[in-house]
Amino acid sequence: MDNFELVILLLDATLRTSTPLILAALAGMFSERSGTINLALEGMMLGGAFSAATVAYYAGNPWIGLLAAIATTVSLSLLHGFACITHKGNQVVSGMAINILMSGLTALVGIALFAQGGKTPSLDHGSRFQPITLPGADAVADVPILGSLYSELLSGHNILVYIAFLAVPAAWWVMYRTRFGLRLRAVGENPGAVDTAGIGVIAMRYRAVMCSGVLVGMSGAYLSTAQGASFLQDMTAGKGYIALAAMVFGKWRPFPALFACLLFGFLDAAATRMQGVVLPGIGEVPVQLVQALPYVLTVILLAGFIGRAIPPKSLGRPYVKER
């Protein structure tokens, strides 16, 4: 295998590992730009992954699984909203509660349903999202560089990968070019301005967390019915938090968040390939270091050493009419 092939493989893996991050980071962005902290991405992802795998198994169709995942995560978003928006509860606490709850519930229900130690049954071919060969991919496969880039890197992913990458410009357009986006951003900066403009703050924030739910549901479904073929206990393994970090790293904006996800996805993909590899001049790079890098980078960004990340102004503050 030559170096070019290696790079292609690495980038290919990057696309696959960053897909759930992108969807979840966008989910976080919708929620947080409207003023609601969403630490619950991890738990929602887990819930989505579990529902998708379970329902896809029974229905034999990944799309129904996807719908189930979205239904689950939207419900969880509504729960988060009920606690934080309606009852003005603490958003950090609510997020942590949902994470812990889902970590327990998915395992509990999984064991009760399938008695396989928290795992769901393996999905067969038809119950999973399958790779899609883009038109002409086979024909150009032999063209040097460009051809293999197209056929090996861009072609051959499942539909959710393409959806994730298309979701980024779509999210940007919604956020910056539509009425909904304008109101959503306004409600995260100054809810008072939105209220006095005759728009319901509560309803607006609920709609934002529901958007968040839809996106994170897809991210969960990707894990268990596209990338994997079943649900495994705690299979998100911190991906929700990494997505959150990527969103902060991307300063709550779609395209920078995409790049952060690609970077973190790349580090993840590289980490698994670097195991035991000795780099000339450096020696063996501990794989744990590479794994910790996204978190370290995010902390450095938050510390203000590489640009400043300014969160939406009323992030974390429930809306209370002032007297």
Binding site: R179, F180, R183, E189, D195, T196, G198, K321, R323
Partner: protein, 532 residues
């Protein structure tokens, strides 16, 4: 939108004069507080109607009900003679009511245009609406002389310009009735005059304006009719031309106001505080205080006048050791106490500087604390309050009780939560904490903000007594009356600089007003000469 306008004009032409707004028996409670007690109000179309009252009289609550921000517990609202139910801002907007809030309701990261269209975007996709709005905005700007760049980021605009954006927002929504809540609190007298000219233009165009304020000057200068509120009740309606400031102020407080405090001549002694070329910057690097130099002697009260937001808050906070100083020097009894270099608020307290800050709730106390916890804020390391490494709560409770009886804080209960005292009693507790330490220098900001009349008198007397005991007092207040009745010398601040100094005997509202707007003292005096 255009439909409403036609209706309005139609009503005007036929001469069937329905009031623009009529409120009948509006009632509102917040828990135990009866904020509005069966309020009746009639605002005639095409007039500027003033609503005056002290802080907490219920003006803002009443207007918030009219704008749909709160629901009244009882009573009816009639707009153009029609009974209306206003459940939210959107209903008010649909009825042609617009509101300019005291704290601007603007999204600072948005452009002027984005702020204006928020809520009336004209379609799910912004593009088309934005183009239409740009045209409409140009027209409104021409018509009402409201010059603002539609593409400017709101957070970068001056306060006056932000207020114009608020007015534009209301007009863009087709407001026929415009409510302004304390609009001049953040403006210089000159900016305020600009605003009143805009309001006059609005009136000429047939709009109705409701002006909420506690400043008599504005009522007399700008309104056609005035309604007075006191403690949640509507106590009187007058035609402005047929009343006087004296009558209004009496109605506001319910008895004759004691505008002048009985006090003897000051006997200034040695210099206690010497401020030399002081500059204070915000964390963002904006210079708030520019090269301020002045002195305060023992036995005198030096007042700092100015429209709020002109650097006096930052100056006071810097002298209190809360804000770092960028340049310059502060000497206290001849010793360098410039904040920042090992000198902080705690160190200043040790040396005998007491500080009553401007904003009680934000700074002077923790509302969740009990009175006795509030009474040691800043003095928690006083040896008298310690028992070994622990706090001596018995001693603290005794000390608090002593403070409370000395400053007549009611109820005299050191264990009651600070939040459960009235504003006046909270303020008296803060004053007691700071003044009973017998400091050599008292820094005091807005000592009577949000305090009832009885407590104001008490507080003013204590401050004068402090001066008479030979202490130095630096007083910052945006209430000119307060400055003029308490201070022996008056410094005027504008845009961060001390514009000049006036002896209390030579001060009058007009000269101070001009200086507050940045006119140098000599010119201010001669300008006044021309007027006379």
């Amino acid at each position: 939108m255009s439909d409403t306008i036609h209706q309005m004009h139609g009503a005007g032409e036929t001469g069937a004069v329905q009031p623009a707004i009529e409120l009948r028996g509006i009632d509102k409670r917040f828990g135990a507080v009866h904020a509005n007690k069966s309020i009746d109000l009639r605002v005639e179309k095409g007039t500027i109607h003033g609503i005056v009252g002290e802080n907490g009289a219920g003006k803002s609550t009443l207007m918030s009900i009219l704008y749909g921000f709160y629901q009244a517990d009882g009573g009816t609202i009639h707009v153009d003679g029609k009974l209306c139910v206003i459940k939210g801002s959107e209903d008010a907007i649909a009825l042609g009511i617009g509101m300019v809030h005291q704290h601007f309701m603007l999204v600072e990261t948005f452009t002027v245009l984005e702020n204006v269209i928020l809520g009336v975007e004209g379609g799910a996709v912004l593009r088309a609406g934005v183009d239409r709005a740009r045209e409409e905005l140009k027209r409104l700007e021409r018509e009402y002389a409201l010059d603002v760049n539609p593409d400017a980021i709101v957070g970068e605009l001056s306060v006056g310009a932000q207020q114009r954006v608020e007015i534009l927002k209301a007009l863009y929504r087709g407001a026929e009735i415009l409510i302004l809540d304390e609009p001049t609190g953040v403006l210089t007298p000159q900016e305020a005059d600009h605003l009143f000219r805009i309001l006059e233009t609005l009136k000429e165009q047939g709009k109705t304006v409701v002006l909420i304020t506690h400043k008599l000057r504005e009522i007399m200068a700008a309104t056609d009719n005035v309604s007075v509120m006191r403690q949640g009740e509507m106590v009187a309606h007058r035609k402005t031309a047929e009343t006087s400031p004296e009558e209004i102020s009496e109605l506001m407080v319910g008895r004759k106001v004691l505008l002048h405090i009985e006090k003897g001549e000051a006997a200034p002694a040695a210099i206690v505080l010497e401020v030399d070329n002081l500059c204070v910057d915000t964390l963002q690097g904006v210079r708030k205080v520019k090269n301020a130099s002045f002195t305060v002697r023992a036995g005198e009260i030096v007042g700092i006048a100015g429209v709020s937001g002109n650097g006096q808050s930052e100056l006071l906070e810097a002298l209190g050791g809360i804000r770092p100083v960028t340049e310059g020097q502060v000497l206290f009894n001849g010793q360098d106490v410039t904040p920042g270099h090992g000198v902080d608020a705690a160190e200043l307290r040790h040396r005998g500087v007491a500080h009553v800050p401007e904003d009680r709730h934000r700074m002077a106390m923790v509302t969740g604390f009990s009175a006795k916890e509030a009474a040691i804020l800043g003095y928690e390391d006083d040896p008298a309050y310690q028992k070994g490494i622990f706090l001596n709560w018995h001693a603290i409770a005794d000390a608090t009780e002593h403070m409370m009886s000395e400053f007549d804080v009611r109820p005299n209960d050191p264990n009651l939560k600070a939040a459960n005292f009235s504003g006046g009693n909270q303020q008296k507790l803060v004053l007691a904490r700071e003044m009973m330490r017998d400091p050599e220098l008292l820094l005091v900001g807005q000592p009577t903000r949000g305090v009832d009349i009885g407590a104001i008198e008490f507080i003013h007397k204590r401050i004068v007594a402090m001066r008479d005991a030979g202490k130095a007092v630096l007083l910052v207040s945006v209430e000119l009356d307060e400055i003029m009745s308490l201070a022996d010398r008056i410094l005027v601040m504008c845009n961060g600089s001390i514009i000049g100094e006036v002896a209390a005997a030579d001060a009058n509202e007009r000269v101070l007003g001009l200086m507050m707007a940045g006119v140098a003292p000599n010119e201010a005096k001669s300008a006044e000469g021309h007027h006379v």
